[in-house]
């Protein structure tokens, strides 16, 4: 089976991607959205043409020196600043509305106004970490349980361990991608991004389990003399079309969502597209070959 025989090539390819992701994370980090960092985000639309950006910027910086304003689309501005209270909010709205009356005669329409305090942001971040850790623990326990009767030649917890390695791979790549996108294109990570990561976790394991399930079944059928590598290789080739096709239908849905779904879920679907592509790759080229590697290591020790 060519996947098993060439596994070092695939390990290397993944290794490079993971390394790039790690480096980007270390040097550039992630750009937290306001739901984690706290802050205010206002989308304001001027249907009849927008007032001068720099004039607005000057007035806004009187309220918060760190405020930033940038155009979005043809008639919109996005304002970012510290969390504001009720009075500050009124003065911000005053600025956004007053400037239009001097230049053009258009109405400022506040499309969205989000202001999130730092306490809430810190809590959202904590919850995000906790849920990721809980999902990982839950899945290891489940896999160890589901594969408890399969202990030869690789014990059941090793299936769990392998699934986790594949899973970390699948999550670190979209995180790295968003770190790079954050650095160059200002992409932020928000609670929806964390949700996307958790779905990728679920999907990654889902995929890995299908291959493992086949290994489990083939081990039962195979004679004891058949090398483990061969059994795994067979299992991969038997589930190959399925893995590709399932991911394909999910990716179709996601790409359509990315193109047509509107701005709210745009980054969300992008994160999922990257993660699910990585997940499909890892379930075929990383997860199961790793089982063989683990088995070889075990055999060497003896």
């Amino acid at each position: 089976m060519w996947v098993i025989n060439n596994r070092k090539i695939f390990y290397t390819a993944s290794g490079i991607l993971v390394l790039i992701s790690f480096l980007s994370l270390i040097f550039w980090g992630l750009k937290p959205g306001i739901d984690f960092a706290g802050g205010t985000l206002i989308e304001v639309q001027y249907p009849n043409g927008h007032p001068d950006q720099s004039a607005l910027s000057v007035k806004l910086s009187q309220i918060d020196p760190g405020a930033s304003i940038r155009p979005s689309g043809s008639d919109e501005y996005i304002v970012r600043m510290k969390p504001v209270d009720q009075t500050e909010k009124s003065s911000v709205f005053g600025v956004l509305n007053a400037s239009e009356s001097t230049s053009t005669n258009s109405q400022a329409v506040i499309k969205t106004f989000d202001s999130i305090g730092p306490i809430l942001g810190a809590e959202a971040l904590r919850k995000a970490y906790v849920s990721i850790i809980l999902v990982i623990i839950g899945i290891v326990i489940f896999i160890t349980f589901a594969f408890r009767k399969v202990s030869l030649p690789v014990s059941s917890w090793k299936y769990g361990l392998t699934a986790i390695i594949a899973l970390i791979h699948d999550v670190i790549i979209p995180v790295g991608a968003f770190s790079i996108l954050g650095h160059f294109a200002g992409y932020e990570v928000d609670t929806l991004f964390v949700t996307a990561l958790l779905v990728i976790l679920g999907f990654s394991v889902h995929d890995t389990i299908v291959v493992f399930d086949r290994v489990r079944e083939n081990l039962k059928l195979a004679s004891a003399k058949k090398p483990f590598g061969e059994v795994v290789g067979e299992s991969i080739s038997q589930t190959f079309t399925r893995s590709i096709n399932t991911s394909l239908t999910t990716l179709i849905a996601l790409v359509v969502l990315y193109i047509l779904g509107g701005s709210t879920t745009e980054h969300f679907s992008l994160a999922l597209i990257i993660g699910i592509a990585a997940g499909t790759y890892s379930s075929i080229f990383i997860g199961s070959p790793l089982l063989v590697t683990l088995e070889r290591l075990q055999a060497k020790k003896k």
């Binding site: 739901d35 989308e43 969390p83 009720q86 909010k89 009124s90 329409v109 506040i110 499309k111 969205t112 106004f113 989000d114 999130i116 305090g117 306490i119 809430l120 810190a122 809590e123 906790v130 849920s131 809980l134 999902v135 839950g138 899945i139 609670t191 929806l192 949700t195 958790l198 779905v199 679920g202 394991v205 889902h206 995929d207 389990i209 299908v210 399930d213 079944e217 038997q238 589930t239 190959f240 079309t241 399925r242 096709n245 399932t246 239908t249 999910t250 179709i252 849905a253 996601l254 359509v256 969502l257 047509l260 779904g261 509107g262 701005s263 709210t264 879920t265 969300f268 679907s269 999922l272």
Partner: protein, 451 residues
């Protein structure tokens, strides 16, 4: 075979009926419209931090409930349709100071200043008069006391302000009626209040004096006699807890728990509409592309999978209405993703069928084996998805995340049902009976050789 066909037709009829239900119950005023979250309908989401540091630990629960009720009453004055006021206690995952929160959702309200002001305000108690004549006329004209909002408004308009208010109350106490044992609230006015109260009661014997809390009448007793001692009693039909709350409100004049606004989110209606339209369009297009792919690659079974996917979609939409699930942009995204994932079980089964065919089994045997052998994969992989969904739902920090998680969990469960039950039934119903080249072609899939 006939049995399968009859059942398949029945399933189709039921699915069509459910589809009809989904289609006809949309729009304003229908029995089961889709429930849209704030991000889609537009509106305001407020999060308040409750400061419980001055409360005894045992009182926290009761105080938070009282806070919720107070705020809900204030929000209701705005005539917002379906406001949501809830307390959240995230003690397990939060730092101590952020453990108790109050969440207020005001659908359709985008100008929040007034709402925010009124929520944070101290409750106002005042007394308004309604003449016996007006009261009788109103009661004669209206069939029930709180029938419609217009009637309610007409009713409230009949009251005249008296200038007597909560500021003139010296003390409020909890009392019990000696004969009925009903709780009531005793009021003792201060000197200004006593004089005014005396004048009012003297001049309006036989009329009604409404006691208003935050603009809502809580009790409208009839004035039987002049009251000169400055003592009054509010005896509405309330429980002991409600009476206690009222006493506290009047005495302390503030919310039972101090609150500060820590998050405001306002979504304009245009943005939500765009998200809904985008979601619907994306759903349609995704469905069609996936259907084409399935039919081209898997042929006859692929067609069956498309029917199963149609049943899945209809069932999901009906469940969204019946449960009801509050749909958010993320929830719609979740639904579209599950359309992609729902196909997975079918693909597993069909690939298994092809393998069995390759081993030289007949079409029927291959189908049975395909379903039987794919089951463990389907079960185990879906359990892991459900674990993820449940954790997301439990620990999701925002309604966006929980909205997604709920759709995701329901989607995984329903897709297991549709892929296994519905697909099997239809495949058995229309599978070719004889083993010819054509039937082999129809039931096989993809390329001749596997990799």
């Amino acid at each position: 075979m006939l049995k399968h066909r009859a059942r398949a037709v029945m399933v189709l009829i039921v699915a069509a009926a459910i589809g009809y239900f989904v289609y006809t119950t949309n729009g304003v005023g229908s029995s089961h419209p889709f429930r849209l979250g704030l991000d889609l309908s537009g509106g305001t989401h407020l999060v308040y931090q409750a400061d419980i540091s001055k409360l005894a630990p045992a009182d926290v629960g009761d105080s938070m409930t009282a806070l919720r009720n107070d705020v809900e009453r204030r929000v209701n004055i705005f005539g917002v349709s379906e406001p949501l006021v809830q307390t959240e206690q995230g003690a397990a995952l939060s730092s101590k100071e952020s453990a108790y929160k109050l969440i207020v959702e005001l659908p359709g309200v985008t100008n929040v200043d007034e709402a925010v002001k009124s929520i944070g305000a101290t409750p106002s108690l005042d007394f308004r008069l309604i003449t016996a004549k007006d009261m009788n006329a109103f009661q004669a004209s209206s069939t029930s006391f709180t029938s419609t909002t217009t009637e309610q408004a007409t009713y409230l308009a009949l009251f005249k302000t008296t200038g007597l208010n909560g500021g003139m109350v010296g003390k409020a106490t909890l009392e019990f009626n000696t004969t009925t044992n009903q709780p009531s609230v005793g009021l003792t006015f201060n000197s200004d209040g006593r004089t005014l109260f005396d004048q009012i009661t003297k001049a309006h014997i036989g009329d009604y004096l409404g006691i208003f809390l935050d603009g809502t009448p809580i009790s409208v007793p009839v004035i039987r006699d002049e009251i000169a001692d400055g003592k009054a009693e509010i005896s509405g039909s309330f429980t002991v807890d409600q009476a206690k709350e009222l006493v506290r409100n009047i005495n302390f004049g503030a919310l039972p728990v101090p609150i500060t606004l820590i998050s405001t989110q306002t979504i304009g209606p245009s943005l939500g509409q765009a998200a809904v339209n985008g979601g619907i369009k994306a759903g349609f297009v995704a469905f069609i592309i996936i259907a084409l792919f399935l039919i081209l690659w898997y042929r006859l079974p692929g067609f069956v999978a498309v029917v199963a996917l149609g049943v899945y979609t209809v069932l999901m939409l009906a469940l969204f209405k019946l449960i009801p699930v509050t749909l958010t942009a993320a929830g719609i995204a979740g639904f579209i993703i599950t359309i992609g994932m729902a196909v997975d079980a079918n693909i597993l089964i069909f690939e298994r069928m092809k393998e069995e065919l390759n081993r030289g089994r007949g079409i029927w045997d291959a189908m049975h084996e395909g379903f039987a052998r794919a089951w463990t994969s389907i079960r185990d992989s879906n359990i892991s998805s459900i674990i993820t969904g449940v954790i997301l739902y439990e620990f999701g920090s925002t309604s966006i995340v929980t909205g997604f998680a709920l759709v995701f969990i329901i989607g995984v469960l329903v897709s297991m049902f549709s892929a296994i039950t519905v697909s099997r039934l239809f495949l058995y119903a229309i599978a070719p009976q004889t083993q010819t080249r054509l039937s082999e072609f129809l039931i096989r899939n993809g390329f001749k050789r596997s990799i």
